[in-house]
């Protein structure tokens, strides 16, 4: 099989997971940087709208590597989606597909459900919930928690930090709560 065909197929967890894990030592060894991503959102606030808030008054330029890193993630997403795209549709668990059909999801062709994530939804109540409220919860929540799945669940856990274990458990509890207790209503009502 051609190498490029192999790359274009979806990567199994035992390839992707270790590669993600290796980001931690890579960043540490090439520049003494701790891996984290949600801090980039804070640097954007500090750079664009510090507004005299103490939390945003620090030398963000010293942390600018983090903004280069997330710009790289964006570029990587572009490259993978345009040059290494998977020739077939995403292979979801049949149980997930039937569960989501019940909730009203019809399009399973992309990585994101086109029923929700399209620009036509942007100015609807549904868009307000999924993009604006959802994004707000992600930004507000990670900052209050002091990190996201990268800073806590990968960097924190790998360095045996028990507060990161608590944060990770809370990420999961929040996720299960939304999936099973709230999402069905969001999909039905909006």
């Amino acid at each position: 099989m051609e190498f490029i065909d192999l790359i274009r197929k979806p990567w199994p967890w035992y390839v992707a997971g270790p590669l993600i894990g290796l980001t931690v030592p890579t960043l540490l060894l090439i520049g003494n940087k701790s891996f984290g991503i949600s801090s980039s959102l804070r640097h954007i606030c500090a750079a664009c709208l510090p507004a005299g808030i103490p939390f945003f008054q620090y030398n963000w330029k010293r942390e600018i590597w983090n903004l280069f890193f997330v710009t790289g993630v964006l570029l990587g997403g572009f490259l993978a989606a345009n040059f290494l795209e998977n020739p077939t549709a995403i292979q979801l668990a049949p149980a997930t597909i039937s569960d989501l059909r019940v909730l009203g999801i019809q399009d399973f062709s992309g990585l994101m459900p086109a029923d929700l994530f399209n620009t036509a939804n942007l100015f609807t109540l549904k868009g307000l919930i999924f993009f604006v409220v959802g994004g707000f919860l992600v930004g507000f929540g990670t900052r209050w928690a002091g990190g996201c799945t990268a800073g806590h669940s990968i960097t924190g856990l790998s360095n045996l930090q028990w507060p990161s274990l608590i944060a990770t458990c809370c990420f999961m509890i929040g996720g299960f709560t939304m999936t099973h207790l709230i999402l069905p209503y969001l999909m039905k009502w909006f």
């Binding site: 570029l75 459900p113 930004g139 809370c170 929040g174 709560t177 939304m178």
Partner: protein, 160 residues
């Protein structure tokens, strides 16, 4: 809260501990690592809203495998760096940070979990989703920046 802001409380969660001065060009290294990371995100489909649904419905092992093996590999790397006192490329001692517990990890963690499911993304995948062509996620990202800002604004009033 007795003592409010010491420097640690304000320090970044992904700090730059490099002591030697770095040229602006050095940042291209981090751009490259980010590119690799973004490619892995898309190819492993972990930027997918569907995969997050599968995970929280416990209908697939994929996401648990990705996160679990990432943590194990990172843990082993950290142990090796500490055990053999491996230095950075610039010859510096690698810095690790102790995280102090505060109640924000509980409240904030729960809120983040709620947002994780409806957006189908944590902060890293947000950038990769935009890059891979889901333009509408720009709205989610801007909202996440707004959420971060509002947290900074309300910080003194929130329990920690």
């Amino acid at each position: 809260m007795q003592h409010i802001e010491n420097f640690d409380a304000l320090a970044c969660d992904a700090p730059n501990d490099m002591k030697k001065a770095e040229s602006g060009l050095a940042n291209l290294k981090f751009l490259m690592v980010g590119v690799m990371f973004g490619i892995v995100f898309v190819k492993a489909e972990i930027i997918s809203w569907f995969r997050i649904q599968e995970m929280f419905r416990m209908q697939s092992f994929h996401m648990y495998g990705v996160i679990g093996s990432a943590v194990l590999v990172a843990m082993l790397s950290v142990w090796l760096i500490k055990r053999f006192r491996i230095k950075t490329l610039a010859g510096e001692t690698v810095e690790f940070h102790t995280k102090a517990f505060n109640k924000g990890q509980i409240f904030g963690g729960l809120l983040f979990g709620l947002g994780w499911v409806i957006t189908g993304a944590c902060p890293g995948p947000l950038f990769a989703q935009i890059g891979s062509g889901y333009v509408v996620v720009v709205a989610t990202l801007l909202s996440a920046v707004a959420g971060t800002w509002v947290y900074g604004y309300l910080r003194e009033k929130l329990p920690h």
